[in-house]
Symmetry: C2
Subunit: 213 residues, 2 copies
């Protein structure tokens, strides 16, 4: 770590020495969704070389951002309390980067963890509070997530209620989340296909999850 520090004494440089290396912040992002195994992280970061993943995990562990937990014959990586403090920063980066998204290119994939974090950064708690509890199953491109919105809180992954609306869309979730493509028009044009549930609930979804473009 001697050659790649910044030679400066300050909070921002220190943070970047820890999570500024290539791929590091994406590992943190995926672990914010939940604890993950080595192979799950590798699958969620399609282009990461395995040696880089291994060394980033060691570095993040040495810095106290993550720790490895042996759990019933397999090893689980999870964020420490200090690592979880990066959540607002990662969500902020997601919201900021969202505005710079172009159209999805053919070689780009959407991973479930990436989608989960984007939806969390789009989540509007105060709007959500105005609706009754709602469970969604959403698919964008090849990535699917289930979400349960319960008042001002958002639960990702595990549902304890039946799904109220499940829908599938193409990889371009930008226009739906930005409000650029209204829910009813998305359905009418076929850009969003409602699989189960009331199609009116898609409008509730787009009000609950909103990111400025």
């Amino acid at each position: 770590m001697a050659a790649r520090d910044y030679g400066e004494y300050g909070g921002v440089t220190r943070a970047l020495e820890i999570v500024g290396e290539r791929w590091a912040m994406l590992i943190v992002r995926d672990l914010l969704v939940g604890p993950r195994r080595y192979g799950e992280l590798a699958a969620g970061l399609p282009r990461i070389p395995t040696n880089i993943l291994a060394s980033r995990l060691k570095e993040l562990q040495a810095a106290g951002v993550i720790h490895r937990v042996p759990r019933s014959r397999v090893i689980i990586y999870e964020l420490t309390a200090y690592g979880r403090e990066l959540e607002p920063i990662v969500l902020g980066l997601g919201a900021w980067g969202f505005k710079a998204l172009d159209d999805p290119r053919a070689e780009q994939v959407i991973t479930p963890d990436s989608l989960a974090i984007d939806l969390r950064s789009a989540f509007q708690p105060q709007v959500a509070s105005t609706f009754p509890t709602t469970a969604y199953a959403a698919r964008f491109g090849s990535a699917a997530v289930t979400l349960q919105v319960d008042g001002p809180t958002l639960l990702l992954g595990e549902l304890d209620a039946p799904v109220d609306l499940s829908f599938a869309a193409g990889p371009d979730f930008r226009r739906l989340l930005s409000g650029d493509l209204p829910a009813q028009r998305a359905i009418a044009s076929g850009e969003v296909e409602v699989l189960t549930g009331h199609s009116e609930l898609l409008q509730r979804f787009t009000q609950t999850f909103r990111l400025a473009a």
Copy 2:
């Protein structure tokens, strides 16, 4: 930019493709303090190679984060509105990294812009509101800043009032900002030297600028 993107379609990856490269976020940090010329940026980032600075500036400009403004025979770089939206993220990174700071090493320097941002991330507006307007001139190691605290607002750099307290300290500003080293003890031990003004004002400073360790 083809080989160094992440092959993923999402907000966080897009953000990191723009400001995730080495040195990029530090350029943004320094420009958050104010517009800067090429040479000023180079001076504020002591170890950046000049070719890297040049290419980062081009990339950030292409992404709409900064723009070059010719001003009276010299070129000024400044953040665009989109670039300024990174402010809470940079301040958050600063506060997060602050907690991981070790003792300053001999080869590490403190630059004025880095110090300015660290103090901004430490600024406590609600505490500041309880004090009358106060102007400080602070020096840590080789970096000096002037600050004017006016109610809940903080002005860096230009003062329109006489300095109420000026002091000098070593490069280790951690213990003072974390509250680990109380103001009076810092003065008694000589770790902080009050140059002009009432030494009691140092306590006001440490209450106004506070970062958890």
